[in-house]
């Protein structure tokens, strides 16, 4: 969070891309687009372009990582070298390692882990183009990929960020708002369970602002949740399936 927070909201109260403070970016979710994965999803959220795939439940490699009483979920969040302004080295950065962990922990509460003891599920996320709030879009896509793989789940997880720019609480931060704004609050929610499975924050917020931001983010999650369900329905009802 840098200080240069200026002019991110214009006189009409609109953001750099014309959105209102509580407006999501356009979102497109496609299901089952990778033929080799057990489940997959592609999300576009603004200029974010992200692929998620789920493999499993399957035998764990290496075997000693398997657990006798439950499934193990592993997750790798990875950015393509060309996904950001300056080329990113393909070896995992500390940021990618942390995000892989928190994304995994945001997905774990959804799965019935005890149904498949001794097995593993691998979630692979590739950010092809990044434009802010990629961890949220990644969770949204990964959750759909898990459903597409037929992993038994309590609910989907939908994720969305809120934050603060120019003293305004806004929804679904894009890159410039993330970098120049004064706070970023990514949130993931299992709506049916009212369960927050991811919560992080960078920046500075008063208690009141924080409460507003969380509320706004949860609202965003619920909207995204509807799109996730729609995308899954389209694949499974529609005749023209993307992959057989």
């Amino acid at each position: 969070m840098s200080q240069k927070a200026e002019k991110l909201i214009d006189k009409k109260g609109l953001r750099l891309d014309g959105r209102k403070p509580d407006e999501l970016r356009p979102i497109k979710i496609e299901v089952g687009i990778l033929s080799n994965a057990d489940g997959s999803a592609y999300i576009e959220q603004g200029k974010n372009k992200i692929l998620a795939a789920a493999f499993g439940p399957r035998e764990m490699h290496p075997k000693h990582l398997a657990l006798p009483d439950r499934m193990v979920i592993r997750c790798r969040y990875h950015m393509a070298p060309f996904s950001v302004q300056e080329r990113k080295s393909p070896s995992p950065s500390r940021r990618e390692i942390e995000l892989s962990k928190v994304i995994k922990e945001s997905l774990e509460p959804t799965a019935f882990m005890e149904y498949y003891p001794r097995t593993g599920v691998d979630i692979f996320i590739e950010v092809l183009q990044a434009d802010g709030s990629t961890r949220c879009a990644s969770i949204t896509a990964a959750s759909v990929a898990m459903a597409d793989a037929g992993i038994p789940m309590r609910d989907l997880v939908a994720a969305c960020s809120a934050g603060k720019v120019d003293d305004t609480i806004i929804l679904d931060l894009m890159d410039t708002e993330d970098k120049q704004g004064s706070a970023d609050v990514p949130v993931a929610l299992m709506p049916n369970q009212n369960a927050i499975t991811l919560l992080q924050m960078d920046g500075t917020l008063t208690s009141e602002e924080f409460e507003n931001a969380v509320n706004l983010a949860l609202e965003g999650c619920r909207k995204i949740y509807a799109m996730q369900k729609e995308a899954l329905k389209t694949k499974y009802v529609d005749v023209k399936e993307v992959e057989e």
Binding site: R95, E98, V185, N194, I196, L198, Q200, T204, T206
Partner: protein, 263 residues
């Protein structure tokens, strides 16, 4: 000694907490005994050791001259690293940092960075070219739970204890002069962690509680009571109500703990 506790013990911990008590007789919102020592590593520019019950964390600060990042030419550089050295726990392995030590370092980093603890603009020697680089090395010496709060506190205590060499610029070269200046520390963020066990929120979980908790949540609070960093961890979840309750309690606890820091 063993790092994994029995199921019987797990049940016992959970049942006790369900009744609003804890096996070590603390209240749900009581910290363990806390001891702060500053300046114990003379070779380091700053240092502090925190004892939180049996959890022990040492932070050493080294300051070197380096280049600023190209997008912040007028700011010094902060680098936080955490080592879960294997003598601290039978579950820690020697080797490069794993996801746990990276997450720990990044949580400590965000608490300091987002609260603007260090006045990084005062670390500039030549704008865009030479700045002071502040290395914060978190060294966990004994792991008995809640490494996050202990590490974050030790980091701030160490920064408060940090002095930088005086220097002058002669013929385009930085020359070290005698004497020291205190590192410019503006804020004193305190990180407070709660675990969720048996649908209760308990503060400062110790090792055995961490092994049964559903999830944890940590909030860094600055001197004005603002929240400046949050991290949820673990494979469980929180409700919105719980999150707001944590925010409220974290503010109170942070203010209490901050009083123990000397500056």
């Amino acid at each position: 000694m063993s790092s994994v506790i029995t199921r019987v013990k797990q049940k016992q911990i959970a049942q006790t907490i369900a009744k609003g008590k804890r096996l070590d007789d603390r209240g749900l919102t009581d910290y363990r005994e806390m001891k702060i020592e500053q300046g114990i590593i003379e070779r380091a520019e700053g240092s502090a050791r925190i004892l939180l019950g049996k959890t022990e964390v040492l932070v050493g600060i080294k300051i070197e001259i380096g280049e600023p990042f190209s997008d912040t030419p007028n700011e010094g550089v902060l680098t936080v690293n955490a080592e879960l050295v294997p003598l601290a726990s039978p579950t820690f392995e020697p080797g490069p940092p794993d996801e746990n030590s990276i997450e720990l370092a990044r949580i400590v980093d965000r608490g300091i960075r987002e609260s603007k603890t260090i006045d990084t603009e005062k670390l500039v020697i030549e704008p865009g070219k030479k700045v002071f680089v502040v290395f914060v090395d978190v060294y966990v010496l004994n792991h008995d739970g809640n490494l996050i709060d202990a590490s974050a506190l030790a980091a701030v205590a160490a920064l408060l204890n940090t002095k930088m060499s005086n220097y002058e610029i002669k013929d385009d070269e930085v020359k070290i002069k005698p004497g020291y200046t205190q590192l410019p520390v503006k804020k004193h963020p305190i990180t407070v962690t709660f675990a969720k066990i048996s649908d209760k929120l308990v503060i400062d979980p110790w090792l055995e509680e961490e092994q049964v908790m559903d999830a944890r949540i940590s909030m860094a609070i600055d001197d004005d009571g603002n929240i400046c960093a949050i991290q949820k961890g673990g494979s469980g979840y929180f409700t919105e109500k719980e999150v707001l309750e944590v925010a409220k309690m974290a503010r109170e606890k942070a203010a209490e703990i901050r009083k123990k820091l000397k500056w």
